[in-house]
Amino acid sequence: MDYVIEMLNIRKEFPGIVANNNINLQVKQGEIHALLGENGAGKSTLMNVLFGLYQPEKGEIRVRGEKVNISDPNVANRLGIGMVHQHFMLVDTFSVTENIVLGSEPKKGATVDIKKAEKEVLELSKRYGLNVDPKAKVRDISVGMQQRVEILKTLYRGADILIFDEPTAVLTPQEIKELIVIMQSLVKEGKSIILITHKLKEIMEVCDRCTVIRKGEGIGTVDVSQTNPNELASLMVGREVSFKTEKKPAEPKDTYLSIKDLYVKDVRNVHMVKGLNLEVRAGEIVGIAGIDGNGQSELIEAITGLRKSESGTISLHDKVISNLSTRKVTQAGISHIPQDRHKYGLVLDFPVGDNMVLQTYYQKPFSKKGVMNFKKIYEKAKSLIKEYDVRTPNEMTKARALSGGNQQKAIIGREIDRSPDLIIAAQPTRGLDVGAIEFIHKKLIEERDKGRAVLLLSFELDEILNLSDRIAVMFDGQVIAEVKPEETNEQELGLLMAGNTTEKAGAE
């Protein structure tokens, strides 16, 4: 069998770190090849080398048997290599079509022939069942749709070797299913795919072979049909990993959070939460399942004081906290692990230590009469860094320099350490590797067992099913059903999330 891609003994260094060391990757024509490794293992780096964004220090790349020098993305494009990046490479303010043709625009005279481009995009989209609107602005379309634009971008350039860097991390279960179908149809057309993902289940489901890298070193390539998730995980981490999170049954006590008839509008002044009712009790984890865009973000923002609620009440214990300021809500005993850790969770240019007191800097012992006590702050930071295993040179390191997983651990440490009554965790493990996920899940359960209330928002059904004691399904701004994890399955949840309550009634 011929290899379409061969990367041999690739070495790539960054100042002070060897990201790839003697890595080999061989991809066969027409296969879906998984690339697996922990956060920071060097997967994205390897792919960026293949795509011409980075130049390797050592090693050889062959495409369809021929030795090549991929000096920049243009060369990669010419060789038929396309990449869907982990962080989308789309210009928000441009239309779908403009994004796709950017850099190789069809011309009419001096102008971009946008009509022709739109037609081509539409045809491509139809052919692969991608279903995008060529005229829509990228910032107006969903994340899943944006990803399809990325795919179209590579197809438009005639790529037949596609690299997907963590494409599923940002997708809802439905979107993941659709993506899998798309990938399979691409392979049927004779294209080859390299897929990076942390989700072993996905690898098992769609991939033919899997290459594992650990800490920049290639561990080996296995046939997926010859292996199982446990083996893959231990190859990746270098030790045994448990998947099912161990937890005792919940012992719910007093109602902590109680939401009645809540209405919330979004930035466009449209009602996104429409008469929602929800309760969370001490000692339980309530998971909110739902497809992105059904009012989950607005709900959380309303609880935490970041958004005004139009009507209805939110109360913590028996105190009404609707429309209090964020500061007051925090003081009332609510912690919030935000969805977007870079935008909301951290001041990236502050040291890790300063980030640890982002809400409490004005309180004793971190400050007295308005004067900061950095000694105390850094003492606290040190202990949190230790307790939550935040890997950072020290507490003075800028948060920006930490990896995503460690940034998230720092946030979680900070939020849990305030001993809140209610912890709101929004997508707490997004984009993290299994080791980190395991750690975070363990912490959340520990808190539950200490008698705290936990409200978990996640688009990953696995996480919802594993962690929750009770699942509230949100659809169109309301909780349309509540189910117990042990009494349901992904199938049923999927239907509920699509707004299908009759099925649910039938099942009971």
Binding site: L306, K343, L346, S367
Partner: protein
């Protein structure tokens, strides 16, 4: 051999050196003697205690306008309106200085506070417009500069005086000038304001680095979303940052009004104290100590330059060019850093 810290200190020094070097080359190209030229500059800045006094006099407002720009930048705002805030501060201080007769312990602080308040008010307007309506602070501050220029002229002419081009001299009880310093420095106009400038540098450092307010201000500057999430009021902090920045600028005006001049004359154009403050702040890396040092460099170059045409025949503009080059080199520190690291590698 070179830690990051030494590199950070080396960069401005190398930049200044390179700037002066290019200046010397320009002098040679145009047929001047650079030794004579820089000698004249040195003489003109430090030749005797008079020139030293004048240099310090020049440095004083630069420190404050530099602090004003630096403070705003540290909180994520670009205050191009320092120029206008200097004007209103100057006006307020002189107004208080001429309008009242009070004992010095009240009069002088009152006049200084008036300047700070006026500058703060002038900063408040772009601050509140940004916080409430999202109007870009750069345009508003540019516009406010012109408004300040024309309004202070009109107030001097029609409100404080009756049709005169300049106000009366301020009362002695509101003056920062000191006979003692004047005598020491052969009647230079150096005044006690330099102490205020130092104090303000200390205060800026303290506010930003040691207080909870400073923590909030910096946090909002770096990431307003996260600050909002953490329960800080973004709008309030933007307004406050602009007001504090404006207050520093107002004080720079007071240095002129109560120290150097003792009056306010109508002006045909900008004083440039504010615009040069941008350069001072940037050269000083927006830190308090850096601003003080950069202001000294600027003051030295500016005052020393006045001596260059008479003694060496070199046009004063040469110094403008040198200053611009120094700013360029500091800004391009990446290049210098790269060269130093190269050097370091080879040294090993």
């Amino acid at each position: 051999m070179f830690t990051n810290r030494t590199i950070n200190i080396l960069i401005p020094i190398i930049s200044v050196f390179l700037g002066l070097l290019v200046g010397a080359i320009i002098m040679v190209v145009f047929g001047y003697n650079p030794v004579l030229g820089y000698g004249a500059l040195w003489e003109g800045a430090f030749g005797d205690s008079y020139f030293f006094g004048e240099t310090v006099r020049m440095v004083t407002p630069y420190i404050l306008s530099g602090l004003a720009v630096a403070f705003a930048l540290r909180t994520g705002l670009l205050n191009i309106g320092v120029e206008g805030q200097v004007f209103v501060g100057w006006l307020a201080s002189v107004w208080v200085g001429v309008a009242f007769e009070l004992p010095m312990v009240i009069h002088l602080p009152l006049a200084i506070l008036a300047a700070a308040a006026a500058g703060a008010f002038w900063g408040f307007i772009p601050g509140i417009l940004k916080a409430k309506l999202g109007v870009h602070e750069v345009i508003v501050t540019i516009m406010m500069n012109y408004i300040a220029l024309y309004s202070t002229n009109a107030i001097v002419r029609h409100v404080i005086t009756e049709g005169e081009d300049q106000t009366e001299r301020i009362a002695g009880s509101a003056s920062l000038a000191s006979e003692w310093i004047a005598e020491m420095t052969f009647y230079s106009r150096m005044h006690y304001g330099i102490l205020i400038a130092f104090l303000m540098a200390l205060i800026m450092w303290f506010i930003l680095n040691k207080t909870t307010r400073g923590f909030e201000l910096r946090s909002v500057g770096y990431n307003p979303h996260a600050s909002n999430y953490a329960g800080m009021s973004v709008g309030k902090n933007i307004v406050l940052a602009m007001m504090i920045s404006g207050a520093f600028a107002g004080l720079a005006g007071a240095m002129e009004g109560l120290g150097t001049y003792g009056y306010l004359a109508t002006k045909s154009g900008f004083t440039n104290i504010g615009f040069e403050g941008i350069a001072v702040a940037l050269l000083g890396a927006n830190t308090a100590l850096g601003v003080v040092l950069a202001a000294f460099l600027f003051g030295t170059l500016k005052i020393g330059a006045l001596n260059m045409p008479t003694v060496a025949g070199v046009p004063t503009e040469l110094v403008e060019i040198v200053i611009a080059l120094i700013i360029f080199f500091v800004a391009s520190s990446y290049m210098i850093r790269w060269v130093i690291l190269r050097f370091k590698k080879e040294g090993k």
